[in-house]
Amino acid sequence: MSRKDSKQTALISRRSWCRAAGAVAGGLAISPTIPSLGVNSQEPGATATLPTFTGPSANSYWSAVGPIVSEPQKAPLILLTDRPVQLETPRNYFATAFTPNEAFYVRWHLDRIPNAVDLRTWRLHVEGNVASPQAFSFGDLLRKFKAETVAAVNQCSGNSRSRLQPRVPGGQWGNGAMGNARWTGVKLRDILSAAGMKSGSVQVQLQGLEQGEGPEGLGSKYFLKSLDLENSVMDECIVAYAMNGEPLPLLNGFPVRLIVPGYFATYWMKCLTWIRVLDKPDENFWMKTGYRVPDTPRGTTRPEAMKAGGVKTVPIGRMPVRSFLVTPDGSAKIPAGMSVNLRGIAFSGYGRVTKVEISDDGLKTWKIAQLGEDFGAYSFRTWEFAWAPRTPGKYSVAVRATDEKGNVQPDETVWNPGGYLWNRIERQEFVAGNAE
């Protein structure tokens, strides 16, 4: 439909609405009190919907602007794309430290996502540069190994991509491409020991059941990620068969998913089926070209520098410190003088969050928020702060976190062509109304 057409349709529908309203008014002689009940032709109380897209300026909403949809085994979530599936977790689910499985965000790269897994034939294969290749059944993982549990945040590398200026192509996430869960499973080191890595091993390559329509040997056929064996995170990785004490939803990686505490989700292979020990570094698209960030402080650069060339890049790694104000969400006025409980979460891929601070004077002064229970270095940490707007007006409340390594959330923006690593201080606007 052209723009002109849609304008005409809008005109016609408005006219027919007026005609219908006129007929009702003429026939029923509506009393003068009815408009005050909100029933009039203007529909003043109608909820305005979000635009269908944002840009070229930054997305100003907390979440992506997609519609809410239902997908198998999931609560209603925000749709980014339906094939392959990308779904964002709505803001309200971050009011607690753990994100429910059914609300956990979803991000696949290729469109042939498993709709079913038969555990009679499914095996977790350990192959490549190993002494004795292994194939473990789901039952083997449950029975033959010691179970380990870790609380860890899974965040998409491109979470908050829609904030970047200039905008970059990719999944236009708001802030909801993240979640925190208790992951239970087998230590990756225990699985590798069972196969016995041979000398000369440098990386482990991870492959799940997901496949694409592209030709063999390209990134559009298989999604593959690798971790350096000398990386200390190898000792913390878990092959998880349980998420918050339950089987994983298929869209989140049933039967098992790799947990890489502190690292961005790109390494957390879903439906993990092949663990391949490599004797030379992985050069597949998803390591050599995809998910790389400038080797600069905070991974930030400018489009001009990229165009000029010579910006060295490295594979994305740990998640920088972030914090979010979750509730109240600013959608309702607060009576001036009333104290409200601001609540949210914070996390860092570099270790425990040690401090969360609030500013309501444009970052000039900061007040310390109270931290919630500590579920471990890589978990969401909840925080709360009693805040009272003194007089009617508009307020901007900022929140920033500090981790145990001394990393403080900055107010500077981030830009890189992949749209990764955004961790700028978040702000929430509040309107205080008159209480008298």
Partner: protein
């Protein structure tokens, strides 16, 4: 008698206005017929005690691509690997960025798009999805 009746009517009218004013302040019972898009509840699946763990087919939602020359080529070639929502989800992007995306699909991902059709797709994206041209 007549005067008395008038007074009562006037009294009722004033009372009605006062009630109306009070209701207006609190905006009771404001309904709208707009935005009634609904999400249906899924019926629980019948489960068998076997080793197969499955989920229902994934829903496919319509994404409306703008009308115009090149729309069919865009739907067919781009749609081989992904829904057109990958296009409509993006912010308005400069023509050069769309060009680079097409090149990435062809070179890095092996999309089999004949040169002439790739040009049609580029032209279509320029005409409908750049900061200067995007309408919806």
């Amino acid at each position: 008698m007549k005067i008395h009746k008038l007074r009562i009517t006037a009294g009722i009218a004033v009372a009605a206005l006062l009630i109306g004013a009070a209701l207006a302040e609190q905006r009771l019972g404001s309904y709208t017929t707009q935005n009634t898009g609904k999400i249906v509840q899924a019926k629980p699946a019948a489960l068998a005690e076997d080793s197969e763990y499955e989920m229902a087919s994934l829903p496919s939602f319509d994404a409306e691509l703008a009308n115009g020359a090149g729309r069919a080529e865009t739907q067919i070639y781009c749609g081989t690997c992904h829904t057109p929502r990958y296009i409509t989800m993006q912010p308005p992007l400069p023509a050069a960025t769309w060009e680079a995306e097409i090149q990435k699909m062809v070179k890095a991902f092996g999309a089999q798009i004949p040169q002439a059709d790739a040009q049609k797709i580029a032209q279509y994206l320029h005409e409908h999805y750049t900061p200067e041209t995007r309408q919806r």
